[in-house]
């Protein structure tokens, strides 16, 4: 990471594969995803619905419903330990304590039958068994104050339905941070919220990130949110990361045709010369069931070549932490070789 050169890596995901078995075939929701998050860094994961963003996050938390889902390969190293090899009880010590998650929908992720106080105390005491209820309550109130709930000593005794959407999301964040998590997974934390409330919540996540050094993985489909929040961005398409780069680099020099299309297809309100047509990526995102071994983007790509139809492009480092999986950036020799191999294999 250029902005924080000495920060140590807290979470490394290596070649993660999460498959779901369905009646129609195997859905490779996440297929070989790798990235690293450093202390105090904010990593953005962008992609359209169905690209595997949320499944990546759930895999890190080991919350994939099994069956039908299963993590079939890869490693997730948290401080050097592969959490995929841990037992369920060991995982419980990490989940919520070291790695925490905020979900998309603040309306459904709190228990409507329990007071906020009960839910928060439960979380804290689960991970700090030596803490008594009074201490835990004090800690909860402190956390609520931190996330900007007015008069938290009173509001903590409310039920979730007495809070608005933005406030519920704040409670979720307070709960997620109450155990000083080192990694915060935010799965579309502001998608269900209005713009003015979204700005409040993003500001809060930013503050926590810089104040407490929490590493944040922000999953979103909103390129505007990523631009303001993240140090580094991974772009996902059909279960794979197609491009990784520092935020500024990605927006100024998008390498993958998909990233380029994505950035150009968003209307921007700060541009003067408004040609009335938006750039649009034609076609639909692919069905990830039984995907053939080709570049999944080739039917929609305006720069598609013969080789794209037959083989998945390997990752290519463009320097300055910029990696892209696209045949455009590989030399002719590799391309022809890959094409020949693929055709030979198809025949066999």
């Amino acid at each position: 990471m250029s902005s924080k050169p000495n920060a140590k890596a807290v979470l490394e995901v290596k070649d993660l594969q999460t498959y779901f078995k369905t009646d129609a075939g195997i859905v490779k929701a996440v297929d070989g995803v790798s990235f690293t998050v450093h202390e105090g860094e904010t990593l953005g994961i962008v992609g359209e619905s169905g690209s595997g963003k949320s499944v990546t996050n759930l895999s890190i938390m080991r919350l994939i419903p099994s069956p039908p889902g299963r993590i079939v390969g890869g490693e997730i190293l948290f401080e050097g330990i592969d959490i995929l090899k841990l037992s369920e009880s060991e995982m419980r010590d990490i989940r919520g304590d070291k790695i925490s998650m905020i979900f998309q929908d603040p309306m459904t992720s709190l228990n409507p039958f329990l007071k906020i106080s009960t839910q928060m105390i439960e979380t804290i005491r689960l991970h700090n068994s030596d803490m008594d209820r009074k201490e835990a309550l004090e800690r909860s109130i402190e956390m609520l104050k931190l996330v900007g709930i007015p008069s938290p000593e009173k509001r903590i005794y409310s039920y979730p339905h007495q809070f608005s959407g933005g406030m519920r999301q704040r409670v979720m964040i307070a709960q997620a941070l109450s155990c000083n998590a080192q990694v915060l997974l935010a799965d579309e934390p502001t998608t269900a919220l209005d713009v003015t409330i979204q700005a409040q919540i993003l500001e809060l996540i930013k503050k926590i990130n810089s104040k407490m050094g929490t590493a944040v993985i922000l999953v979103t489909h909103d390129l505007g949110v990523v631009a303001g929040m993240c140090d580094k961005v991974c772009v996902m398409y059909a279960g794979r990361i197609v491009e990784t780069a520092l935020t500024e680099e990605l927006y100024t020099n998008p390498a993958h045709p998909y990233t380029e299309g994505l950035i150009r297809s968003v209307p921007r309100m700060d541009t003067k010369n408004k040609d009335r047509r938006l750039f649009s990526i034609e076609g639909q995102p692919p069905n990830v069931i039984d995907l053939p071994p080709c570049c999944p983007f080739h039917p929609r790509c305006h720069k598609a070549m013969e080789v794209c139809r037959h083989a998945y492009p390997p990752k290519k480092d463009l320097g300055n932490h910029h990696e892209v999986a696209c045949w455009l950036y590989l030399d002719e020799e590799t391309k022809t070789k890959a094409l020949q191999d693929a055709i030979r294999e198809e025949k066999a």
Partner: protein, 363 residues
């Protein structure tokens, strides 16, 4: 917009209140949700008016009141010279033929048990059966029309016997658009038509709507909460807050010089997909949430959250002040008289005086 042109749709002081009842046997009304609380605007032929606002500000209710899906509490909707609120049912239905809706959720707005053909043909069938069409249509004509429409919105006409679940979100939204076009409407009321779609699909649908507007000379009332989308598609924009329009302006002007403190905050809160711009921007973060619209207000609707509030605002509802010919704002900051120096006591005294004047005036 030239002043000589006649507006296609005139909305005057439209109010839509939903009663809150006690819920017991007597079911007394104990209050009202003021979803839309007195809005007025005109839409001229061929233009696109965008309405933007946060959830719960009454955008969707506005559309439903205009199309008479809810009977408005008060106010008037004049469409194409016909008073939609007071017209008899048949006249209203005939007028509504020229007014069609596109809905937000492409999953919920299509009947899962109908084929694409019957979905798109349904408006024609209904109007034909009620003998409201200028010329009756045969089923063969409808079939041809359905195929034309499917092709026009970018669907393969071979799919006409399929069911909605076989299509993706973007394709379903295209089906919804084809259905809205079936009766050759003059105006399309689009209620968040792209909010549920992915970015790349959103661009496709926005382009399609733009093309259709050019081809058929359509007028749009376009609702969205995404400011960038609204700015892209609209010629004029109305910003709503808590059932009121707080600012109306040409779309280019609104971004360059927003006037109402709420518009300023809204624009500054909307993220821009460019890290360089984004890092240098100063955000105005509003505190608190949108209040509940269940009580009658005496002052400015934005008073509780406004960073520039004055004592005067607490007890006087601002009218629309003209900034330029095409830019109006409902905020006391732009009042021709300076009200900033007036103290709370004087403001309250003045408000009380005006109230008594109004009540005696009525008598």
């Amino acid at each position: 917009m030239g002043t000589t042109k006649k507006p296609l749709l005139e909305v005057r002081d439209l109010k839509q209140h939903f009663p809150i009842t006690t819920g017991n046997i007597l079911n007394r009304q104990v209050g009202a949700i003021r979803a839309v609380d007195g809005i007025s605007f005109d839409i001229y032929p061929g233009e696109t008016l965008g309405i933007v606002g946060e959830s719960g500000c009454g955008k969707s209710t506005t559309v439903r009141s205009i199309s008479q899906l809810h009977k408005p509490t008060s106010g008037s909707v004049i469409f194409n010279g016909i008073d939609m609120v007071n017209a008899d049912k048949r006249t209203m239905l005939r007028a509504r033929q020229d007014m069609q809706l596109i809905f937000q959720d492409p999953y919920a707005s299509l009947d899962p048990r109908m084929t694409v053909r019957s979905i798109i043909a349904e408006p024609m069938v209904i109007y034909n059966n009620r003998k409201l069409l200028p010329e009756p249509m045969t089923s063969h004509e409808m079939e041809v029309r359905v195929e034309d429409l499917m092709e026009r919105v970018g669907l393969n006409k071979a799919f006409k016997n399929r069911y909605p679940h076989e299509f993706s979100g973007g394709q379903r939204q295209r089906i919804g658009i084809a259905r809205a076009l079936a009766l050759n409407p003059k105006i399309i009321l689009a209620d968040e038509p792209v909010s549920a779609l992915d970015v790349s699909i959103q661009a496709q649908i926005l382009n399609l709507l733009g093309d259709l507007q050019k081809e058929f000379g359509l007028t749009y009332l376009f609702i969205a909460h995404d400011l960038a989308v609204i700015q892209h598609i609209s010629t004029r924009i109305a910003v709503m807050y808590l059932g009121k329009i707080v600012e109306v302006s040409e779309s280019a002007q609104l971004y360059d010089s927003p006037k109402h403190p709420y518009t300023v905050a809204l624009l500054s809160a909307a993220p821009i997909p460019d890290p360089k711009v984004e890092r240098e921007r100063k955000r105005i973060i509003l505190t608190g949430d949108v209040p509940s619209p269940d009580k009658e207000r005496e002052g400015c609707y934005f008073y509780d959250r406004c960073p520039k509030k004055m004592p005067w605002c607490s007890c006087h509802i601002p009218p629309m002040f003209g900034i330029t010919a095409n830019h109006e704002v409902a905020c006391w900051l732009y009042s021709p008289e300076d009200v900033s120096a007036i103290s709370m006591e004087d403001a309250l005294v003045d408000a009380a005086k005006q109230k008594t004047e109004a009540t005696t005036g009525k008598k």
